[in-house]
Symmetry: C2
Subunit: 158 residues, 2 copies
DNA sequence: AAGTTAGTTCTGTATTTGGAAAACTAAAAG
DNA sequence: CTTTTAGTTTTCCAAATACAGAACTAACTT
């Protein structure tokens, strides 16, 4: 095992890879996906550049660019320790809930588009237009109920 | 204007392109995305292979493969007309609501993974584990409330 | 001031993706 | 039965992606 590499159990490696695949499917690139997955499954929650790099066998450049991306998109954060020049990266836990709300609010983008499409449709395609209207109504309903749902969750939780 | 191409207003073209971009961002390839968008914005709701092909200036192969994909994934359907060998493709309107529910249920896949990650974490990373548990609780809550939401929508609608 | 550490940036390349062109096929029409 | 229509399948190529390697930099150490 090389200088910085941390050790993972078989199970951790399996979870890491499964999670990385899910993340890639949702549009995140392979290297950032693996890093994010690693920060979820490793026993240590805070890892250095070189621990990440060596554990995942990716190059310095890939590691550097992936970490920048994850920091920019607020998926991870880092701490420093006095008398230690390294940064210790960890997943930003709040980003999970944020991701949820983000997904909900991205609904309203699609909804607006549907409304604009509806606005310029010929009135003769009656059924099509009605269906489109139903969909936008549903989306409006969802994004209105979304935050209420969150509140309902908060209160039933404790 | 070539043989089969249908004409679109400036506004329709703008909406088509905007919608296609949204679809691409959600992981659908460019050609299928444009076809799906076209079927939303065009005055005619049912278009033939060649109308699609020429209006979007894509090759036969791209058109054929994109249509197969959209049929397989139930995003579109087609009708035939007697005494006419062509197929008339249109968006499957129900696929919008289905998409909604699908998104909700894909949540449970991630949720399961989080639970498996949680199950093997060392107990010493207390805060991390607690946060992870909160997230899974939230996801469980969401996917339980999802269908109920749909029902609530159905009943308040009429 | 000459390393060393902890990265970043730049350049090149292997792989993957997306789509064109052309050959092919099955059904219907003439 | 040969031609046309309505596609499908196969092959190939261009462009985009994802990453490695190497050069570079800035701060700290000795």
């Amino acid at each position: 095992m090389s200088e910085f590499s941390i050790s993972l159990t078989k199970e951790q490696i399996k979870l890491l890879e499964e999670y990385a695949v899910l993340l890639e499917q949702s549009g995140i690139q392979p290297a950032p996906a693996k890093i994010l997955a690693l920060l979820h499954v490793s026993d240590e929650t805070d890892l250095t550049f070189d621990q990440i790099r060596e554990t995942l066998s990716i190059s310095k450049s890939a590691t550097s660019q992936a970490l920048s991306f994850l920091l920019n998109t607020k998926k991870i954060e880092y701490k420093t320790k006095i008398g230690d020049r390294k940064r210790y990266f960890s997943t930003r836990v709040m980003s999970w809930q944020e991701g949820m709300l983000e997904a909900l609010s991205s609904l309203s983008g699609i909804c607006d588009l549907y409304k604009r499409i509806l606005a310029q449709r010929p009135s003769r395609t009656k059924e099509f237009n009605k269906n489109l209207k139903d969909v936008t109504a549903f989306m409006d309903f969802m994004s209105k109920q979304g935050p209420a749902l969150l509140q309902a969750f908060e209160s039933q939780r404790k």
